[in-house]
């Protein structure tokens, strides 16, 4: 009988297995405990692996640029720079969980920013010294504008049965156009100083910016709603199998309108946050916010066809491109390499998620 020599990877595996088997045994018994099984389940989600990727990237950049990347200043500014995108991405997570997509978010944000700023400038008086009444009115207008576009999106998708991609592409153009018409193409550069102060305020020993706290609250609320409420469950059910959800008695049309309305309202809120950070409207900006939000949601493990979604994953997904952006800039690489890296990570993240999904289904 001829002995078959094991191939190199097999022998490496065997050696590794030999070394690690006592550890594996410990892990097996640990994962059967209550706490251990929670940890094991956490690591079976995509969010955990994406978080691992984020940690590895941060470690890598810290190694390559010590004392520059992982400073309090840089971590804080990175967090501020993703706060607005995170709020939009939470809304986008819900929309994509239903199997839809919302391309209009960046431009609805633009529109909401314009209407809000114009309302606060009403009557031609300089709003810089305005009080809380004007600020709250501006916030209400921003939320209302976002809500209006969101409802329109929802009606188009649910009632008129226009495919989400097309419907939101249409509202993208319309909201941008209206924003330009209302503002005459000019940024509105005077907003109440209270708002600007909120944009730069920090709490908890002057360390955590208010906008980051607010974005975190939105993300946590979104995660709770998605995982623990009926609203969230219905959202995932619709994404998983719309017809089955309908037959199970869920009012699919009405629910879809609610989901798109939520996405629009969050875009309106994000607009107000953007006003706080930049102290002016930014009409020429936000061009790629929709695609960045979708990329973040997909990196985070939400399925493009709906049914599976994770707000925790989206939160990590929002951070990864920013970490790459900041790390590459600090290291002094040409700007365009950043874009290459973010695109590559997006594809890699989706690919590994697909692999894991397929392996899970096979078992």
């Amino acid at each position: 009988m001829t002995a078959v020599r094991p191939s190199l990877p097999e022998s490496i595996r065997a050696a590794l297995a030999g070394k690690l088997s006592p550890v594996a045994e410990r892990w097996k018994s640990f994962s059967q405990t209550r706490f251990g099984s929670v940890v094991a389940r956490a690591f079976s989600t995509n969010a955990a692996w994406i978080l691992l990727l984020l940690v590895v990237l941060m470690w890598l950049f810290n190694f390559l640029a010590p004392g520059k990347f992982l400073t309090e200043f840089n971590v804080r500014t990175m967090a501020v720079n993703v706060a607005v995108l995170l709020v939009i991405a939470v809304g986008e997570t819900f929309v994509m969980a239903t199997g839809g997509i919302d391309l209009s978010v960046g431009y609805v944000m633009l529109f909401a920013g314009v209407t809000s700023a114009q309302t606060m400038n009403w009557g031609g008086r300089n709003p810089t010294d305005s009080g809380w009444d004007v600020v709250l009115l501006g916030l209400a207008v921003a939320l209302g504008s976002g809500l209006a576009w969101g409802i329109l999106n929802g009606i188009l998708v649910a009632k008129a049965k226009v495919p989400a991609l097309i419907a939101t592409l249409g509202t993208l153009g319309m909201s941008w156009g209206f924003a330009e018409i209302l503002s005459n193409g000019q940024d509105i550069r005077y907003i109440p100083s209270i708002i600007g102060d909120m944009g730069s305020a920090r709490y908890f020993f002057d360390k955590i910016p208010l906008v980051v706290i607010v974005a975190s609250i939105v993300a946590i609320a979104g995660a709770v709603v998605l995982s623990f409420t009926k609203f969230g469950r219905y959202t995932l059910a619709i994404g998983s199998n719309q017809e089955a959800a309908r037959r199970a008695g869920i009012n699919v049309d009405w629910h879809l309108i609610k989901v798109y309305a939520m996405s629009g309202t969050l875009a309106g809120f994000a607009a107000f946050m953007s006003l706080a950070i930049f102290t002016t409207t930014t009409i020429s900006g936000h061009a790629n916010d929709n695609l960045q939000a979708i990329a973040a949601v997909v990196i985070g493990g939400t399925s493009l066809v709906g049914g599976v979604a994770s707000v925790a994953g989206t939160t990590v997904g929002v951070c990864i491109p920013m970490v790459l952006f900041s790390g590459f800039t600090i290291l002094g690489y040409q700007s365009f390499w950043r874009d290459v890296a973010v695109g590559a990570v997006l594809i890699l993240a989706v690919y590994t998620d697909q692999l894991r999904r397929r392996r899970r289904e096979r078992r």
């Binding site: 595996r13 590794l16 297995a17 690690l20 088997s21 550890v23 594996a24 892990w27 097996k28 094991a40 690591f43 692996w49 691992l52 940690v55 590895v56 941060m58 470690w59 810290n62 190694f63 640029a65 010590p66 004392g67 520059k68 990347f69 992982l70 400073t71 200043f73 840089n74 500014t77 990175m78 720079n81 193409g185 000019q186 940024d187 550069r189 944009g199 730069s200 953007s274 950070i277 930049f278 102290t279 002016t280 930014t282 009409i283 020429s284 900006g285 936000h286 061009a287 790629n288 920013m322 952006f325 900041s326 800039t329 600090i330 002094g332 040409q334 700007s335 365009f336 874009d339």
Partner: protein
């Protein structure tokens, strides 16, 4: 599968430990004071104006023996430039030359950069508040607008309808050019200036605006394009409409604009000296780092290029490059 899980988790724990460990160390203090680290933050990467500025800055940096890093967003967008500015601040260079994309929105990140002890110099565009900057170096954009208006008025025999194609309001340079142009045109009663159009620095928008305006005003006599991207778009629009009557004055002299000038598609170019701006930017920043006196406002020169004088040796420095070699 178990093994893999264990290995991955072990890796995670190690990385977390490494993170908390290494973030406690600080970078060693910079060595010789002579070799400063400077960074140039362009208004937008890839624009021939800013490429030429980078060439000038690099040449001056090599001459003075300082290190220069060049970066910029891929769009003219304050929301894209803010993370760039924040990351450059985190990288702790000694000095930064920056062309802010918006005169108000970027006040807070640039103030933070200055508060961190980094010398800030404005090149080309600037903020409304320049109190904390070492120097503001730009072309006399107001004068450039006036020159453009005078040249265009002469080309169209001092009567007709003209269109201004601008980028965005709130950009200090283009705003000044438009103001100079409008103020000068007020002195020409037979010229009607149409409502100003904005392109968000997108050449395809400029093309569409040009062709639509031609459709609405077939008697259009002249166009003023306020920067490189707009000039490209306007030229394409005129070519698409097969129009050879409209006289175009464009700001900036990129390689494509020089081609268009020679081909007769554009009749005049108001060229800045971005190379000179880059050189002056590095010079002022290094002076500030050495503790020597600086000049708070520097205006670099302009030239009106036409088909006749574009080959003059004196005019060569006004021609922008697409790459430094």
């Amino acid at each position: 599968m178990r093994i893999r899980t264990v290995t991955m988790m072990g890796l995670a724990l190690i990385t977390v430990a490494a993170c908390s460990g290494s973030s406690a160390t600080t970078a060693p203090a910079s060595a010789a004071a002579k070799s400063y680290n400077l960074t140039l933050i362009q208004g937008v990467a890839g624009d021939p104006f800013y490429v030429t500025m980078a060439c000038g800055a690099q040449a001056e940096a090599d001459k003075e023996g300082v290190k220069l890093n060049i970066t910029g967003g891929n769009k003219w967008d304050a929301t894209v430039q803010k993370p760039v500015i924040d990351s450059v601040t985190a990288a702790k260079p000694d000095g930064v030359m920056v062309a802010p994309d918006d005169s108000k929105a970027l006040l807070s990140p640039l103030k933070a950069m200055s508060d961190a002890g980094i010398k800030v110099t404005f090149v080309d565009t600037k903020l409304d508040d320049t109190s904390f900057a070492v120097s503001s170096i730009a072309t006399d954009n107001l004068g450039g607008g006036t020159l453009a208006a005078q040249t265009l008025a002469k080309l169209i025999n001092d009567k007709g309808t003209v269109l201004v194609v601008n980028v965005d309001p709130g950009i200090s340079t283009t705003d000044a050019r438009v103001q100079g142009f409008n103020d000068e045109m007020k002195k020409h009663p037979n010229i009607t200036v149409l409502d100003i159009q904005y392109t968000h620095d997108d050449p395809t928008a400029a093309t569409t605006i040009t062709t639509s305006t031609l459709a609405a005003h077939p008697d259009l006599a002249g166009v003023f394009a306020t920067n490189v991207q707009n000039a490209e778009g306007v030229a394409t629009g005129l070519k698409q409409a097969s129009n050879t009557v409209v006289k175009t004055i464009a700001f900036d002299a990129g390689p494509k604009q020089i081609e268009d000038l020679n081909a007769g598609i554009v009749q005049g170019l108001i060229a800045q000296d971005p190379y000179g701006i880059g050189v002056a930017g590095v010079q002022q920043t290094v002076l500030a780092l050495k503790g020597q006196p600086t000049t708070s406002v520097i205006q670099t020169s302009l030239a009106a290029l036409t088909k006749d004088n574009v080959t003059d040796p004196a005019m060569q420095k006004y021609l922008y490059k697409a790459s430094c070699s």
